[in-house]
């Protein structure tokens, strides 16, 4: 890692501007072709269960209450109360003042192995002082979060203050230390171009992020196929350069099993099968889980279920 840049803004800027350009139409076309893969039968069963295990079950609303978070925790551990073969999800994701409730609820429900991810650094806008962002992160970790989903400062990125963006990520990563893994949210909908997505991905990885994440889920477009495609290329190429595997998390707009399976195809054919694991790929979603459960029921029983057969929490 240290031989790619020397810590100066000049060196960072040079590295990022030397990255190869992305042709938007070519990238969109390749992503669209991969979306035509037809996943059936045993491979579909496998993919559905993997997708469930990759879900970061999320609630990030101003109206969140302890009651809501407890219900989410129960769902996370046991998505289908009538079918114990359904795996638990990858994590639950909440605001940092709900972390304690979440952690306790998970532990009480038999979900000790399910991490709590907290959004931090003045999520979703990222518009606050560094002191606030640092406190935000510290609170989350103290309350039991073992994953931090931070947002980058898009204003700084778009106005060219790349060193600032780098330093912020570095600072939050240092706070996480060994206690938490760090996901860096790029908010690709605000970055707009795929060239920016590529640059921001590398910036986040160079600064020490463990995961790069597409979006806060509060801005559209979010985790579109071309964006995830470019990010998967970034982690693939970064691994070839450094030997370090960074994870990818699309979030926002992934609502159906079909959407989730398309994401898994992208992972499989762009980054490679090593990334088909919750330690390297997560899906930030809420409504998706029930659709995965319904599709799972359909595969199991042979007919389409109704939404009455999955829980609304």
């Amino acid at each position: 890692m240290t031989n790619l840049i020397d810590g100066s803004e000049v060196s960072l800027r040079k590295f990022l501007s030397n990255l190869p350009p992305v042709d938007q139409i070519g990238a969109e076309s390749r992503a669209a072709t991969l979306a035509t893969r037809s996943i059936k039968n045993e491979s579909k069963n496998w993919a559905i269960d993997l997708a469930i295990r990759m879900v970061d079950l999320t609630t990030l609303e101003g109206a969140d209450t302890p009651g809501k978070v407890k219900a989410l925790a129960a769902k996370a551990v046991r998505p289908d109360p009538t079918d114990p073969s359904v795996p638990s999800v990858g994590a639950i994701c909440v605001y940092n003042d709900m972390v304690k409730v979440a952690r306790t609820a998970l532990d009480e429900n038999g979900g000790k192995n399910i991490p709590v991810a907290a959004v931090a650094t003045a999520f979703p806008s990222g518009r606050a002082s560094m002191e606030v962002k640092i406190q935000d992160t510290k609170d989350a970790i103290a309350n039991g979060a073992s994953e931090i989903d931070m947002v980058i400062d898009r204003g700084a990125f778009l106005s060219g203050h790349l060193g600032e963006v780098f330093d912020e990520i570095r600072t939050i990563k240092d706070l996480c230390g060994e206690k938490a893994h760090l996901k860096v949210i790029l908010e690709t909908g605000e970055l707009v171009t795929l060239d920016n997505v590529r640059k921001a991905s590398y910036l986040a990885m160079l600064a020490g992020g463990d995961f790069i994440k597409t979006s806060t889920g509060k801005v559209a477009p979010a985790a579109t196929a071309p964006v995830v495609y470019v990010m998967l290329e970034a982690v693939r190429d970064f691994y070839a350069l450094t030997g370090t595997k960074i994870g990818v998390k699309p979030a926002g707009g992934i609502r159906t099993t079909k959407d989730a399976i398309k994401q898994l195809v992208l992972v499989n054919e762009v980054a490679g099968p090593q990334w088909l694991d919750p330690s390297l790929f997560r899906i930030g979603a809420s409504a998706l889980l029930n659709d995965l459960l319904m599709q799972r029921m359909k595969m199991r029983d042979g007919y389409y279920p109704s939404p009455n057969y999955v829980t609304l929490d």
Binding site: P20, P21, V22, D23, I25, G26, A27, S29, R30, T36, R37, S38, I39, K40, N41, E42, S43, K44, W46, A47, E233, L264, V265, N268, E269, P273, Q274, L276, D277
Partner: protein, 480 residues
Amino acid sequence: MNNFEYAPAPESTAIVDIKSEYGLFINGKFVAPKSGKRFETINPATQEVLAKVAYANESDVNLAVSAARNAFTKTWSKMPAAERGKYLFRIARILQERAREFAVLETLDNGKPIRESRDTDIPLAAAHFFYHAGWADKLEHAGVGNNPKPYGVAGQIIPWNFPMLMLAWKIAPALATGNTVVLKPAETTPLTALLFAEVCQQADLPAGVVNIVTGDGTTGSFIVNHPGIDKIAFTGSTGVGKAIAKAVAGTKKSVTLELGGKAANIVYEDAPIDEAVEGIVNGIFFNQGHVCCAGSRLLVQENIQDELIEKLKRRMSLIRVGNPLDKNTDLGAINSASQLARIKEIADSGDLEGAQRWSPACNLPTKGFWYPPTIFTGVSQSHRVAKEEIFGPVLSVLTFRTPAEAIEKANNTQYGLSAGVWTDKGSKILWTAQRLRAGVIWANTFNKFDPTSPFGGYKESGWGREGGRHGLAGYLKAGN
């Protein structure tokens, strides 16, 4: 745990209803061949016989040409142009309705992946008819004077690589401009043309306007040499194209030819490299490389060669070769035993002449005709694999140092059909395009086709263009 093997996802063939044998489509009806002969067409992925089709001999061709002549004189040339256009609109719409059926049939008869016939071949064919339908009553804007006239009866001979699409490229402009047609599909891929005859019947196209005669090269020569043919349109090998040009010398026949190619795909150091890899793969492995405009020579700037080849090899190992009817198949079957033999022969010369061959590991099926996606590195201009059209999934990789050298090598061929240019710099795209002697130039993309976009080659890649306003000129002469 990390095992995302895609289970088979075959498209059902229940939608097609292949008859056990077919006649010739002459004067609006299917009729038994005067030759009394039939020949088989097989599925190249399994070698199973699909059907027996009729063999047209000289008498059959005579009948077809007479039917076309009659239809021209009595019906088609007298019909108001707008009404002609409406028949073509009908045909386009019916093709859209029956698109899935055509796609499955095309894959069965040709061996190409269902994804390609479904997403590329058939939609483009329908679009071609739709586009040309709108020209029928606007020919004063075609650029052939303000009262252009059709030639009369067009004899059209098409290849096996894009059977239905090539049929559309031929019949749509011919009919739109007021000509009638005798068309011979390729020997190994007659079925979608015969299904198209049914579409003509459903559209109520007047009898004799379109005639489909199945047969072989000899059938084709009867068409070419027939005195009742006013215009010849041929797509196929350069060798046969030259023979046609020679045969019609001294006659009044108008000829357009769309022949072979050995296109250079130029990748500059400042290319968007991941998309360039996709473009290279698409350029040579789309349709198993059975493409006249295939990017069969990769010209990569020497200073990015290693990185590009490594990415290319990794990408090639993702190519899924197998059952063309499986929706996840990327590379289908080679169309025939003879084509497979030809590919092998030229590719093997690459080994003999000292180039380095590489293919990803592939599980090729035991029945049928198959060839793995292959690249040769260390190729120079004088190698056979750099000069001769292989018409298969084999890419030859050469290098260059400067833009001028890229141009020189790209143009150093008797062909001139197409070329690719990959760079992020706009002015370099335009500079390169200006200097390439090729009829179709793709910049930062490849193998893109559209009915509005003229297609055709320089030098020995042929005469004339198909598609767009320019393509109409092949079927019109100046009136008074």
